[in-house]
Amino acid sequence: MFQLIFFSILNGLVYGMLLFMLSSGLTLIFGMMGVLNFAHASFYMLGAYVAFTVGLHLGFWPALVIAPVVVGLLGALVERQGLRRVHRFGHIAELIFTFGVAILVEEIVQLVWGRPAKSYQVPAALDFPLFRVMSSSFPAYKAFMLVVAVAIFAFIFVILTRTRAGLIIQASLTHPQMVAMLGHNVPRVFMIVFGIGSALAALAGVIAGPVLGTFPGMAQVLGSIVFVVVVIGGLGSLSGAFVASLLIGIVQTFAVAMDVSVGGALAAMGVHVNTAGALHDLWRVTIAQVAPILPYVLLVLTLILRPTGLFGTRET
């Protein structure tokens, strides 16, 4: 039991930190531009694919740097050439635009890299079990993922609180109009932030690709969950995104580990339900089976009860 809990926490942390890498960029973009970027997970996928290709020629470590840069530039280009054009038509048009970009990226990835999953492997230098507790082992690569995620968190934190650029970005999160009034080139800041956000997503893709698989559906698989994190954490709030990422990561990991069914849980509490009725499926279902939908229940509840999210200060 201890072993299960211990590893569930570790896995939850790893998964949560991965979500954070994705949601940090999305939060920055949303906070500044008010755009819920549907294509964010697409940049994550591009990161994995570019890293795979670069890795074939130069190895994993150069790819770790090159892929985010390439994808970041691409993101900036998308902002400059596309998003900025539709900006004047309002948020709904922007949302629809990013939705289109997401479709297109998925198709382009299939066009360029083909449909089969790519065999993007963990680098040999990190391909060993870091430690063992009883019969389970914890791979070094997952520890590396944790380190990278923490480093990103620290990096963003320092940038936002210690540099002038960070102060401008932070100010833009709360008072975008005022920042423009103060003479900053807000469109350019937008472009840079969009680029950085995309690069962060790509970095997440680079390090998640070997673990979660590098295949054309990988963006769709994570796409909506990242939205959940950003909304629950509070739109535009980085610390909220951080907490929500870990929350979702750990909740989902633990839910899988629990084999209790709703009927069983009620029975344990002394309530007996008629399991033969029309809702019998509901009682039969175990928490493990509903684990994947928990985030969406949280999402809807949050939006209804507290649209600002856990830490957010403003609605859309």
């Binding site: 819920l36 499926d281 809807v300 939006l303």
Partner: protein
């Protein structure tokens, strides 16, 4: 709009009558075309595709009640289509067993009521908010329903879905629905009725207020309307018509699966409505027809049809946000002024050059696809047999792209100028 006001009282009666004739005339023409269409087609495929189109048109129109008319971008509209369809399928199965009396022609209504019931349930909280929050809730509801379909096995039938059999239900007036052609008339009937009803809805007080709430929810509150309530009514109506489409789907395909409610289905209807144009009532009709046409025809020719569709969609968002119908609508003044002839030359020229560029782009993309798939040898592209692993075809198609693009850059502005000239008010 330059018509002097003074002439209005004199002209108004005649204009109104002419307008009425033209308006009802169009509905009448549509009905006649719907009736005669199956006579003009030979293949069963065409009937199958037209059935699909009819369902898609109702669905897209119902979606536009939200997006175009109510300003609500839903990522979960297929939920109501799907639930309406599931309920219709279950009811059809019950009718088939003789548990209830319900003939097939009334089944879409059952689907509609199912869609309505769930729209009322989910709408009660999701329409409290507009804009991005509404979109996110709709996304959450869609994901929730998709996930619930795995849990409620009895209702959704798991991965296999619910199958049904339309030929087991009791007959109404001896109408049988075994062949696709027979189903076509059922779909055409409901298509006509639903379209008429949705058009009428947009011309009712609450339909108008939906526009008002879309434009300015705050102001709507200060003329006596609760924005929540207005959105809620639109949402329910949209759910109802989506459910009708779902019911027709159940009759036509005799199967419903969770994926009918999924994100992809909701995304497809967004594409349809947007490409067609959300600003005009007829936009989604055009979008649904074009989308279904491309989907069923293009997918036979290329595995990358979604890529082309994605490009079309993005191009629409970027360059023609008013959609195809909006683009046509821009030409209404030109049409009225009978100056379409002047545009013909520049448009045909630009169109031809654009076509050349498109051929080049498609050629290049198909060859990339060919090489990326690790294939060797030759393949047929348009009228040519090309060997993508040699240099020549690449140069050829690239030349087409460059020539077409340069040409469009040159003729495009002229076409735009010709349009501006032709649409300028005044005597021809």
């Amino acid at each position: 709009m330059s018509t002097p006001v003074a002439t209005r009282p004199f002209a108004v009666a005649g204009v109104a009558r002419a307008a009425r004739v033209r308006r009802y005339g169009l509905w009448l023409a549509a009905a006649v075309v719907l009736l005669l269409l199956p006579q003009s087609v030979r293949t069963g495929t065409a009937i199958a595709v037209m059935n699909q189109m009819g369902i898609a048109v109702i669905f897209a129109l119902s979606f536009n009640m939200l997006l175009g008319q109510g300003g609500m971008l839903s990522f979960g509209h297929a939920v109501y289509f799907g639930l309406g369809g599931f309920i219709a399928a279950h009811v059809l199965n019950m009718a088939g067993r003789g548990a209830i009396y319900l003939p097939v022609p009334l089944l879409p209504l059952v689907g509609g009521l199912g869609g309505l019931a769930f729209a009322a349930l989910f709408g009660s909280f999701s329409t409290r908010r507009a804009g991005t929050v509404f979109s996110m809730i709709s996304l959450g509801v869609a994901e929730l329903m998709a996930a619930s379909s795995l849990i409620f096995d009895k209702f959704f039938g798991g991965e296999e879905g619910i199958t049904t059999n339309r030929s087991k239900a009791p007959l109404l007036l001896g109408l049988e629905f075994t062949r696709d052609r027979q189903v076509y008339y059922l779909i055409a009937f409901w298509l006509f009725v639903a379209t008429l009803a949705m058009y009428a809805f947009s011309r009712t007080p609450v339909g108008r207020m939906a526009n008002a709430v879309r434009d300015n929810p705050e102001r709507a509150e200060f003329v006596g309307y609760s924005q929540h309530r207005v959105r809620f009514v639109s949402f329910c109506a949209a759910g109802f018509f989506a459910g009708i489409a779902g019911g027709l789907f159940a009759v036509n395909y005799e199967i419903l699966t969770a994926e009918n409610m999924g994100l992809n289905a909701s995304g497809a209807v967004l594409l349809m409505a947007y490409i067609g144009g959300i600003g005009a009532f007829v936009g989604p009709i055009l979008g649904a027809v074009v989308f279904t046409f491309l989907q069923s025809m293009l997918s036979d020719y290329t595995g990358m049809w979604l890529l082309y569709l994605g490009i079309l969609f993005l191009a629409t968002v970027l360059f023609v946000p008013m959609g195809l119908a909006g683009l046509l609508m821009l030409h209404a003044p030109v049409w009225r002024a009978r100056r379409v002839g002047r545009l013909l030359g520049p448009y045909v020229l630009t169109g031809a050059l654009g076509f050349v560029a498109a051929v080049g782009i498609i050629g290049l993309l198909e060859m990339v696809h060919f090489v990326a798939a690790g294939r060797t040898g030759t393949r047929r592209l348009f009228w040519l047999v090309v060997a993508p692993r040699t240099l020549m075809p690449w140069l050829g198609f690239a030349a087409l792209v460059v020539a077409g693009a340069v040409g469009v850059r040159w003729t495009g502005p002229r076409a735009v100028a010709a349009f501006a000239e032709a649409s300028r008010p005044g005597r021809p």
